[in-house]
Amino acid sequence: MRKADIANLLYERHGIPKREATAIVELILDEIKDSLAAGEEVKIAGFGNFTVRDKTERKGRNPKTGEEIGITPRKVVTFRASPVFKQSVLASRG
């Protein structure tokens, strides 16, 4: 499933014209991105939480050459699915 499929659902289920539906899906995604970019957590009840985590510097290795390289400290986004989300996957997939 892609962005266009989600926009299409807004059209089919709620009658939102396709162009507007695409714009709304993009607005939602942009709000989440901007919030995370500002270092803020995004908590969507019934879906899950997006968090920004600090990764410290660590040593890595180039898997091809075996050469040791430094991995710089960085910020990464992690997602924790809510219990409802996990359950909906388990319920239908076993």
């Binding site: 901007d34 899950g48 990464v76 997602f79 909906s88 997939r93 076993g94």
Partner: protein, 92 residues
């Protein structure tokens, strides 16, 4: 930002829809992602990221109270991988 704040922010930027209507649309967006994964599909949104299932193998766990060994069955769990644009926005 909570879901309610997300709805507020989107509602402010959309003309011609009430907050309640935006609430319903936001609900459909997140439900559609949940539903896709529930049927084993994956969701790929360029610039944002992808949602897919990660398989967890069966393992032996232990009941922390009784110390009894229990079999934890294999399962699929939702997994999100941030897309390039989001990764770069967050790690500036």
């Amino acid at each position: 930002m909570t879901k309610a704040e997300l709805i507020d922010n989107v509602a402010k930027k959309v003309d011609g829809l009430t907050r309640n209507q935006v609430d319903v649309l936001v609900g459909t967006v997140f439900n559609s992602i949940k539903d896709a994964l529930a049927v084993g599909d994956k969701v790929e949104i360029r610039g944002f990221g992808s949602f897919r299932l990660r398989h967890r193998a069966a393992r032996e766990g232990r009941n922390p109270k009784s110390g009894e060994v229990v079999r934890v069955p294999p399962k699929d769990v939702p997994f999100f991988k941030a897309g390039k644009e989001l990764r770069e926005m967050v790690d500036r």
